[in-house]
Symmetry: C2
Subunit: 194 residues, 2 copies
């Protein structure tokens, strides 16, 4: 069924709000217009493409889940998280992350990605790093994408700390390992963190 443009755009907007995962092809069929028309409609209405919408929904879900820090304070982009279990983030190495002379990623950016993921995975209002043992296995270069995988390996050790192990990869190659001992607010603590 054909509609005038204004009417179509109004209904298009409502349709996408109801089902953000609908494709441009499905929309074109639904409104009996070309895919190109749908794209132009989205452009005029400032509705991002499906891939972006999926990403936004996912990020919003992660943002709602995180307890220890706001999602924008995570270094890198979270692509999966189960609190107190595991989390994954990606960081694309750009010019601001590398030594100017060698184009090798600076250690503190890999550390920041891993450490903020170790904070994010904690299911608690307050999570602070007490200790970390880290190893830089191989150099990471400008343009590479680092995938950090955090696993909670002990939710409460003898000192009441949570141990999070983070392994970071470029493609399938291990580039960084960090073991983080995290202080969290819900365990009683009489030590040096008060």
């Amino acid at each position: 069924m054909r509609r005038n443009k204004k009417e179509r755009q109004k209904q298009l907007k409502e349709t996408i709000m109801e089902n953000p995962f609908i494709t441009d092809e499905e929309l074109a069929e639904k409104f009996s217009v070309s895919v190109q028309t749908i794209r132009l409609d989205r452009l005029e209405l400032s509705i991002p493409e499906l891939r972006e919408r999926i990403k936004n929904v996912a990020q919003q879900n992660f943002a709602d889940q995180l307890r220890s820090l706001p999602i924008e304070e995570v270094i890198g982009e979270i692509i999966d998280i189960e609190l107190d279990q595991q989390a994954i983030s990606i960081l694309d190495i750009k010019r601001e992350h590398v030594f100017s002379r060698t184009h090798i990623a600076r250690g503190h950016h890999l550390f920041a990605q891993a450490n903020s993921l170790a904070v994010a995975v904690i299911n608690d209002e307050l999570a602070l790093t007490a200790k970390a043992n880290i190893r830089f296995i191989r150099q990471v270069k400008l343009g590479e994408r680092v995938v950090a995988k955090a696993k909670v390996i002990n939710k409460e050790d003898a000192k009441g700390r949570t141990i999070v192990k983070v392994k970071s990869y470029v493609h399938k190659e291990l580039v960084f390992i960090g073991e983080f001992s995290m202080f969290r607010s819900n365990f009683t603590e009489t030590g040096d963190k008060q």
Copy 2:
């Protein structure tokens, strides 16, 4: 001896170029004018005050000394350095360094200060971090000044790595300890760094 303003300012500039450590009082005496006049002259000539000039000269000296990275890539401000011996830097904790909710400094900034100091102290063209063991002793808050002191404790260990220990303080209170194992270019290395 009195001179007209233009002539005085010309000579003032030359005098400070020759001796950047001359005080405003000494300049006033030399040119037979008030200290206030010297200050106004400096302002018009955009010549910074003595303290700033000392700092600039010092920073330039440090910049010339550093071999492993340009001084602007050091996180924090270097205030003392002897290559392969020891180095000191300060970092003032500002809003961009803290968690928004708690105003506690984020671990990766303390790590970045210490790690970049461990790189800077290396007397070599290439210095990369291989391993680090770190401890956050107490929280550092917005507005605090962190003084990091790096000491080279072993210039070449069994693996050809240089071990640098960094202790960071707020006033005299220890807030962070890190031990960094640094790969450097002049030692033969067949390990995981190629």
